[in-house]
């Protein structure tokens, strides 16, 4: 069974990797690119929000920090395409560093208070970027596009994002089975009891928070390069923060598969609705979907699979 699943996953990933070679329209490439991106964001958010139960509503901040750091580095240092892509890694590290600094005081606050503080944090970051000319200010930052056909450059970024998604999901897989993951689950259940079990709660919450900021930071950098122009209004949009939370919870927080399911379904629904339905109707369908899932599957769509699996 385990072997079977592994083979199926490998085939699926190979198919995804082969997709650009079929010469699809750019629209489909961009669509898949954003699916990968949201899987990365939701799965990373899940480290702190799902496993530890600390619902961060400011995760777009880490995404945006990665985007701006990469864009600034690329435009200022006139980096080559390869270096621009690689620059997203230190940009992710910067996001992780910010998570460390912010997480230290913020993770002492629990429940809804933590969520509110993270929203404020995201606004502070956004306003800071908007008001400092050096960081792009109100105009945003342009990136130089690769000196190759558009489709090829988009295919390259598609593959890089896919790779990042695989790495993120690999880390998520490890986390779900690790000592760290077990500790985080104990925190979600009862933090005080977790402490008396010998779990250094303050330390592992920060570790989870750092991890959950790192991958979105890298994703932000790749996103910036994909768009070739970024603005604070786009990458720090609070709707992204909310969407990340919704995706993870919709699919099933605290599980490996949940955020993947949630991110895929909601990206497809969002995209499909905006293409085929009027905006008003799209919103109604979107809302109805949430109501149905919340009522019948309070732990997310993952519930549906669990019940089917007979346990």
């Amino acid at each position: 069974m385990q072997k079977y699943r592994l083979a199926a996953t490998a085939i699926l990933l190979a198919m995804l990797a082969a997709f650009p070679f079929l010469e699809p329209e750019v629209y489909y490439l961009s669509f898949m690119f954003s699916v990968f991106m949201y899987v990365i964001l939701a799965s990373s958010w899940n480290f702190i929000g799902g496993y530890a139960g600390y619902l961060s509503f400011g995760h777009a901040a880490f995404f945006g920090i990665g985007a701006f750091a990469t864009a600034k580095a690329a435009s200022m240092l006139e980096l080559s395409p390869l270096l621009t892509i690689l620059a997203s890694i230190p940009a992710g590290a910067l996001a992780a560093l910010v998570a460390l600094i912010v997480g230290y005081p913020c993770l002492k606050i629990r429940g809804p208070y933590f969520s509110v503080v993270t929203i404020c944090f995201a606004f502070v970051v956004e306003l800071t970027v908007k008001n400092i000319e050096f960081l792009g200010g109100a105009e945003g930052i342009y990136l130089k596009f690769m000196d190759i056909p558009e489709k090829l450059s988009r295919s390259i970024l598609y593959e890089v994002m896919l790779l990042l998604m695989i790495v993120t999901l690999g880390v998520a897989w490890w986390l779900g089975r690790s000592r760290l993951g077990a500790g985080l689950k104990a925190i979600r259940s009862d933090e005080e009891v977790a402490e008396t079990m010998g779990i250094p709660t303050a330390k592992i919450k920060i570790q989870a928070f750092i991890l959950s900021a790192f991958f979105p930071g890298i994703a932000g950098g790749l996103f910036a390069y994909y768009l070739t122009y970024i603005h604070a209004d786009v990458v720090f949009n609070i709707n992204i923060s909310i969407l990340i939370v919704l995706m993870a919870m919709f699919g099933g927080g605290g599980t490996w598969l949940g955020p993947i399911i949630g991110a895929v379904i909601l990206t497809v629904v969002n995209e499909g609705l905006s293409t085929f339905a009027q905006a008003e109707i799209a919103r109604i369908i979107y809302g109805a979907l949430f109501i149905v899932v919340t009522i019948f599957m309070p732990n997310g769509i993952i519930d549906f699979f669990r019940k089917k699996g007979g346990g």
Binding site: G183, A186, E192
Partner: protein, 243 residues
């Protein structure tokens, strides 16, 4: 091995513990009794580090632990249960216990080793058949056993049991008393327990401490304590103590 000197804990204007001294020696089963609101659970919370005392010091095996975090104390070997059972809901019994093993004092060989150890502890506490259930599906007796199993996962030197007998019927109490002795004899764990059930405390403890209004009023063997006038007065009123 565990010693408290002049422990003071206040909540606003209320003094929950005033200059309480206590000592628990290795291998003992010590009881802590007292009327409701006398500060028993507060003392346990101070020992395990959930509350910081306003005054006094705690020592564990000669080392001062007053300023250590709860998890650091746990890792030194102070395990505890909670009066109102607090299992890790959403995780099955194996996960509840194996998490404790993973972060406990003995290094285990990864997730598998932790799971094996967890099964061993569940067997010891008589929960093998329910190992894959969720805590919410258990009856009270089993939840209390789980509470003990989770504390044992740490491999503690001393176990603080906060009213594990409360709410159990006589048969269950006998089983729990047997389990208490078994813990000490098998693992060599020292036990410090809060208890209201007199049958349990009289038959298990070698020494009993009595708290009343945050002050230690007496300490001694079960018989001495039971006949102490101040204890009788604390529980039944001064009129009974006089006769």
């Amino acid at each position: 091995m565990l010693e408290g000197k002049k422990i003071i804990k206040r909540f606003g204007g209320l003094t929950a513990l005033s200059e309480v001294d206590f000592e628990v020696r290795r291998g003992e089963i010590v009881g802590l009794i007292g009327p409701n609101g006398s500060g028993k659970t507060t003392l346990f919370n101070v020992i395990s580090g959930i509350y910081a005392p306003e005054g006094g010091d705690l020592f564990f095996e000669g080392r001062k632990i007053t300023n250590l975090l709860p998890y650091e104390r746990a890792r030194m070997g102070i395990g505890r249960t909670f009066q109102i059972v607090r299992p890790l809901t959403g995780l099955n019994l194996i996960e509840n216990v194996s998490t404790g093993v993973l972060y406990g004092r003995k290094k285990t060989a990864g997730a598998r080793g932790a799971k094996e150890k967890a099964m061993e502890i569940l067997a010891f506490t008589g929960l093998t058949e329910k190992a894959r259930r969720l805590p919410g599906e258990l009856v009270l007796e089993d939840r209390k056993r789980l509470e003990i199993a989770r504390a044992l996962a740490l491999n503690p030197e001393i176990l603080l049991l906060d009213e594990v007998f409360a709410g159990l019927n006589p048969t269950e109490i006998s089983n729990a008393i047997e389990l208490t002795f078994r813990i000490r004899d098998t693992y060599g764990t020292t036990i410090f327990m809060i208890e209201h059930v007199m049958k349990a405390i009289m038959s298990t403890c070698s020494r009993i401490m009595v708290l009343n209004f945050g002050t230690k009023i007496t300490e001694g063997s079960p018989e001495e304590v039971a006949n102490h006038p101040e204890v009788i007065s604390a529980y039944l009123g001064a009129a009974y103590a006089a006769c």
